[in-house]
C-alpha cells in the first residue's frame, strides 16, 4: 500500500440482508492525501454504500480498510475524529437556529468555548449566512440549508471530508459558493471524497475519478485521462454513459 494514500481499500464487499447481489463487490482502490476524489456511478451502483462503510455507519461484509494509517475495524472511534461528512439529505435540527445547530455539532467533535464560536462566525460569514444566523433552519431556503449542512461537516477541520451530492437541488449561486469553498478547504490540506450525478461539476472539481457500477470499480484516473482514453468522448458524461450504458436505473 502506498505511503501517500490516506484511504486504502482492499477487496471490500458488502451484501445487505435479503439482497441477492452484493452492493459492493470486492472493490480495491486507494485515495491519496489532498486529492479531490470523485466516486461516480448511476443509482444503486454502490457509491453511498462505500462511503457509508468508510464513515463507519455500518460494518463491511469483508475486506480491509485503512484510513490515515488506522484500521477501520479496530480504530473506528479514532477515525471518526478526523473525518467530516456532508450528507445528501439535510442533517440539521429544523427548530434550532443555524448557530445552535453548529454549536451542537461542533461540540460533538470536541470543539468548545470561544474557539467554537469564532469558527462558526467565520464560516457563517464566508457562506453569506451571518444575517440569518439566529433564524430557525425551518425558515431557510434550500440553498441556505445546504450551506449550513456543509459548515456542520467542516467546522472541526477534518483531514478527510465525505461529500454526498453536496450541491443537489441548489441554485447556481449557492452551488458556486459551495464549490469555491470546498476547493479552499482542499487547498488547506483536506482530502475530499465526493459523489455526484452532476458530471460537469465532477469534471471541473475532481482531481481523480473512479466510476463504479454494480458494486465494481470500472475505471479510475484523472478526468482528463478518462476522457482521452475513451475514444469519441469529449467530456466525462460521455465516458460515464459509455461505461455504464444508457439503460435507465432504479
Amino acid at each position: 500500500m502506498s505511503n501517500t494514500a490516506i484511504i486504502e481499500i482492499e477487496n471490500l464487499t458488502k451484501t445487505f440482508k435479503n439482497a441477492t447481489e452484493p452492493a459492493v463487490d470486492g472493490i480495491s482502490f486507494s485515495i491519496n492525501r489532498n486529492e479531490i476524489f470523485g466516486l461516480l456511478g448511476p443509482n444503486g451502483a454502490g457509491k453511498t454504500t462505500t462511503i457509508s462503510i468508510l464513515c463507519g455507519l455500518f460494518p463491511p461484509g469483508s475486506g480491509k480498510i485503512v484510513i490515515d494509517g488506522k484500521n477501520l475495524h479496530t480504530e473506528l472511534s479514532s477515525i471518526k475524529k478526523i473525518i467530516g461528512i456532508v450528507p445528501q439529505d439535510i442533517a440539521l435540527y429544523p427548530t434550532l437556529t443555524a448557530c445552535e445547530n453548529l454549536e451542537f455539532y461542533g461540540s460533538m467533535y470536541g470543539l468548545q468555548g470561544k474557539g467554537l464560536k469564532d469558527k462558526i462566525e467565520l464560516w457563517l460569514n464566508k457562506l453569506g449566512l451571518t444575517d440569518a444566523a439566529k433564524r430557525k433552519i425551518s425558515t431557510y431556503s434550500g440553498g441556505m440549508k445546504r450551506r449550513v449542512n456543509l459548515i456542520a461537516g467542516v467546522l472541526h477541520d477534518p483531514k478527510i471530508l465525505f461529500l454526498d451530492e453536496p450541491t443537489v437541488g441548489v441554485d447556481v449561486q449557492s452551488r458556486n459558493v459551495i464549490i469555491e469553498h470546498l476547493k479552499e478547504i482542499n487547498a488547506r490540506g483536506t482530502t475530499i471524497i465526493y459523489t455526484s450525478h452532476h458530471m460537469e461539476e465532477a469534471e471541473n472539481f475532481c482531481t481523480m475519478v473512479s466510476i463504479i457500477d454494480h458494486g465494481k470499480i470500472l475505471i479510475r484516473g484523472t478526468p482528463a485521462e478518462l476522457i482521452s482514453n475513451n475514444a469519441g468522448s469529449t467530456n466525462l458524461e460521455h465516458v460515464f454513459l459509455n461505461l455504464t450504458n444508457r439503460k435507465l436505473r432504479d
Binding site: 464513515c55 455507519l57 455500518f58 450528507p87 440539521l92 434550532l96 451542537f104 460533538m108 468548545q112 456542520a152
Partner: protein, 431 residues
C-alpha cells in the same frame, strides 16, 4: 466528554422548548386529567351522599317489620325514599318495571304477613327450645316459614356499586328483624317465666352487643384519609410521567427522519452519551411534572372544595420513588423510540402501550378488584410498582424502607430498557 454531554442537554432543552404540542402533552394534559378525574370521582361520592340512592319501597306487611324498615329508610341519608311511582302507590309489578327502566336503583318489597311470620318463627323457636327439641328440627321449621324480603336491582347499575348499596340495606333490614325477634323472644320468655315479666322491653335498643369502629391503618402522624385526591394525584402523575414516552420516542424518531441521527453516528460521540443527554432532560421534565401535580393536589384542588393532598411522612421516600419512576419512564421512551421505525409507529406504540400498562398497573381500576390472572400480570407493570410505592407513602404512611423494593424494580426496569435499546440500535446498524 462532559462538554459533549452538556451540549446534548442544551440541545434537548431547546428542542423541547420549541415543541409546543409536546410541551402541552407533558404538562397541561396530566394536570387536566387530575382535575377532571378527581372532580368526577369526588362529585360522584358527594351526589350519592347528598341526594341518596333512589329507592322504591313497597310495604305489603303494614306491621312492625314493614313500618320499622320504612321509618329507617326514610331517615337514612343513603336513600332517597319513594313509596309511589308516577303518582301511583307502588306495587310489586310497578316497582319491578320502574327499576327495570332505571327510574330507581333499588326496589324493596316487604311481603304481606312478614311480621306475623317472623313472630311465629320466634315463638316456635322459643317453645321448641324450652321443650328441648334438637337444633336440626328447629332449623327445618324456621326455613318453612322464613320471611323473604325482595330486593329489586337496576340491571344497568355497576355490580361493585350495588354490592356496597345492597349490603348496607341488608345490614339495616337484618338489624330491624333482630330487634323484632328479640322483642318477641322477650315477650315469650316473660309468658313462660312469669318472674321475668318486668324485663325491660327495649333492652336490645340500649345495648348494642357488637360495635364497629373504622380506623384507617395508616402509620402516618398526619391524619391521612383515603379520598379521591389521595388516590388520583399519584395515579395520574405516574400516568403523565410515563406518557413522556410519546414525545421522547417522537424526538428520537425525528432525529432519524431529519438526518441528524445519521450525522451523529459518524461523529466521535458514543450512542449512550447522546441518549444520556435525552434522559437527563426528560428525567428533569418528569420531576417538574411531579412538582406540578403535587401543587395541583395541595393548592389548586382545595380551591375547588376538594381535600388537600397529604404527603405522608417521608419526603426522601417521595424523592427516591419519583426519581425511580422518572428513570423508568424515560428508559421506556428511549426503548420505544429505538424499536419504532417511523414517527407514526412510535406515537401509536407509545400511547397504546402506556394505556395498556396503566390499565394493568391499576391506574384506571385498582388492581385488588382485578381477577387473579390480571392481578398477576399487573404485578409486572412498572406503573403498578410506582403506584404501590406512592400508596405506601401517601396512604399507608410508609417510609424509604417500605418503597425500597418498588424503587429498585423501577431502576432495574430502566437498566433493562437501556440494555434493549443499545442492543437494538447496534443491531439496526448492522445491516
Amino acid at each position: 466528554m462532559m462538554s459533549k454531554l452538556l451540549a446534548t442537554v442544551k440541545k434537548e432543552i431547546l428542542l423541547l422548548l420549541r415543541d409546543r404540542v409536546g410541551l402541552s402533552i407533558l404538562f397541561i394534559m396530566p394536570m387536566a386529567l387530575i382535575f377532571v378525574m378527581t372532580l368526577i370521582q369526588d362529585s360522584a361520592f358527594k351526589t350519592m351522599n347528598e341526594k341518596g340512592i333512589p329507592i322504591v319501597f313497597i310495604n305489603n306487611d303494614n306491621d312492625s317489620l314493614g313500618i320499622l324498615i320504612e321509618q329507617g329508610l326514610r331517615n337514612n341519608d343513603l336513600c332517597s325514599f319513594n313509596d309511589s311511582i308516577d303518582g301511583k302507590p307502588a306495587t310489586a309489578e310497578l316497582a319491578q318495571k320502574a327499576v327495570g327502566e332505571g327510574k330507581f336503583l333499588v326496589g324493596i318489597i316487604i311481603p304481606k304477613g312478614a311480621t306475623k311470620a317472623l313472630r311465629k318463627n320466634v315463638t316456635q323457636l322459643v317453645s321448641e327450645t324450652l321443650n328441648g327439641e334438637d337444633s336440626a328440627a328447629i332449623k327445618l321449621n324456621q326455613l318453612q316459614d322464613s320471611v323473604e324480603i325482595t330486593i329489586l336491582i337496576d340491571p344497568v347499575a355497576k355490580k361493585s356499586f350495588l354490592i356496597s348499596v345492597t349490603s348496607n340495606l341488608r345490614e339495616f333490614i337484618s338489624e330491624v328483624k333482630t330487634k323484632i325477634m328479640f322483642q318477641t323472644f322477650a315477650d315469650q320468655i316473660a309468658e313462660v317465666i312469669p318472674d321475668k315479666k318486668n324485663t325491660p322491653k327495649n333492652t336490645y335498643k340500649k345495648s348494642q352487643i357488637i360495635k364497629y369502629k373504622e380506623i384507617y391503618a395508616s402509620r402516618s402522624e398526619d391524619k391521612i384519609v383515603p379520598n379521591a385526591v389521595q388516590h388520583n394525584v399519584p395515579a395520574w402523575t405516574i400516568f403523565a410521567m410515563f406518557f413522556i414516552a410519546i414525545p421522547l420516542s417522537g424526538s428520537i424518531m425525528k432525529e432519524k427522519n431529519e438526518g441528524s441521527a445519521f450525522r451523529l453516528h459518524t461523529m466521535p460521540t458514543p450512542y449512550l452519551l447522546l441518549v444520556n443527554g435525552k434522559i437527563i432532560v426528560y428525567v428533569m421534565v418528569c420531576l417538574i411534572q411531579f412538582l406540578l401535580m403535587l401543587s395541583v393536589g395541595q393548592i389548586f384542588l382545595p380551591m375547588l372544595g376538594l381535600p388537600a393532598l397529604v404527603l405522608g411522612n417521608s419526603l426522601l421516600g417521595i424523592f427516591i420513588l419519583t426519581l425511580a419512576t422518572a428513570f423508568a419512564a424515560t428508559g421506556y421512551g428511549v426503548m420505544v423510540g429505538t424499536l419504532a421505525t417511523t414517527e407514526h409507529q412510535a406515537a401509536i406504540m407509545g400511547s397504546l402501550s402506556i394505556l395498556l400498562l396503566s390499565a394493568l398497573g391499576g391506574i384506571w381500576v385498582p388492581s385488588y378488584v382485578m381477577p387473579e390472572v390480571m392481578r398477576d400480570i399487573s404485578a409486572w407493570s412498572p406503573l403498578n410498582w410506582s403506584l404501590e410505592g406512592f400508596y405506601k407513602l401517601f396512604l399507608r404512611g410508609g417510609g424509604v424502607a417500605d418503597i425500597f423494593t418498588d424503587a429498585l424494580k423501577l431502576f432495574a426496569f430502566f437498566l433493562a430498557t437501556m440494555a434493549i435499546s443499545t442492543i437494538v440500535n447496534r443491531k439496526k446498524r448492522t445491516v
